[in-house]
Amino acid sequence: MYQLSEEQIDFISRDIQSRGLEMESLQQDLLDHVCCIIEQNLEATGNFEGFYLATIRTFYKTELKEIEEETLFLLTHKNYYAMKKIMLASGAFSAIVLSIGIVFKFMHWPGAGVLIVIGIALFSLLFLPLLFTLKIKEKEQAQSPFILAAGTLSAILFSLSTLFKLMHWPLANVLGLTAIGIMLLLFLPVYFFTGIRNAETKVNSIVTSILIVAGSGLLMSLVRSPGGSTRLNELNTSYFLRNEQILHQEQKQVADFLKTNPGKQDAFAQSQKINALCEELKAYILERETGRKILPSELEKENTLLTDGWVRDYFKDDLPAAQKLKTLSSLVETYNQINAKTGNPNFVPIPVKETVLDKSEERTLAALNGFTQIQIMVLQNEQNLLAQK
């Protein structure tokens, strides 16, 4: 039986710490353990230091720290199997939900949007991060953490960008381009050059790299070029401007006619109000589109192009514009009812269903042209009335 002094216990304690152990409770365990062994096995007159060093040497293979590493490994991996299960379940679930959602979308059944959003959100925000975490934790990693991180990030961004694009949320294109950028400029070079250095992975790396480049290429070929977008916007803008021109021409003719024949002043009920509201809403859309108050005639002069964006957000339920649109819609309905009753055979009602009035026309230019057409139809009814007299 050896009796350890306080100094010797301090010495052991310091030595254990200096060997890189940081967990206090593990230090305490090992200190007590070593002390027990020494007290039990060293003779009272034995050489403390030599015996201690020989004893502690039997605790490890290369260094004492590996006990702490093993402990941390066990502590962090206790959820390993649960995580693996969740990963597989969420992956399978999201793939199934997404597929069902796509079938619903094609069939125009309700609920398609919810299914697709849930599918992609689970895939990109649960499945992919879990896959990454599990791959990173694997003891013998095939790839470096950097490659895994870049690959996962790019995959997450790409699937989110698809989701944003489908839902017409903002920043979809930014996400998509970032994803492809990370994939082609970060992931691919690192993956390729680390892969071909190793004879075992050489062929695999080359094939996968080719697949990635070809896949991105196919994807990019589906994307409209910036020049193509400008061209489309030019065509759409001038289409809108031509409609405006026709409207103004007609308005001018009616005004001129009334000037020379002041006695014939007459109009269908509600005409003026409808016309005014249409003008107001068009001005509102142009303002939201371009970010400032701008007249259609100024668009051409300043070479400002309208985009093929969506007006959905401009007419959100809580905005005053949505209220105005409703007013206009009910005005048109009363206009149709009142004037149909007069029995005038030349009266043509203005359609409400499947037009901008019930928010069916959601593209900016379709909505603008929709309003202009309403104005033109009102004007044509006017002209018919005047012609009858």
């Binding site: 306080e6 301090d10 305490q28 007590d32 039997t58 006990i67 093993e70 502590l75």
Partner: protein, 122 residues
């Protein structure tokens, strides 16, 4: 040869014992109320006539993992300048100990049958 996990040094191959260390610890704690680390290693040595020797590198990580998952609780006592930690089973640990032991017993029966050591019905 020692396992890559540096689990056990023993007469039996470490591969054989690797999956049973938890069960051994839980069973010992079930029979002895509370034990400290050194005591556990000595007890195993004694009971197996030194055929199974648990290394420190295997024992403490496993004890900490058992504590972390709530199967084992600790009490500390000061022995002069050093701290001794006594490990004992929690309520869930007690049930786990029984389950683990009967699972292992069942496994050993199956192995006997599989390896044709003592042919019998299972």
């Amino acid at each position: 040869m020692r396992s890559p996990f540096n689990l056990l040094k023993m007469i039996y191959s470490s591969e054989l014992i690797k999956g049973t260390l938890k069960t051994i610890i839980l069973k010992l704690l079930a029979d002895n109320k509370r034990m400290y680390g050194y005591e556990i290693t000595q007890k195993v040595k004694e009971l197996t006539s030194e055929k199974i020797q648990i290394t420190e590198g295997a024992l403490y990580p496993t004890l900490h993992a058992l504590e972390d998952s709530g199967l084992v609780t600790t009490e500390t006592e000061y022995i002069g300048k050093r701290v001794r930690k006594y490990y004992s089973l929690s309520q869930t640990g007690k049930t786990q100990a029984q389950e683990k032991v009967s699972e292992l017993a069942d496994f050993m029966e199956t192995m006997k049958f599989l390896l044709d050591l003592k042919p019998q019905q299972i």
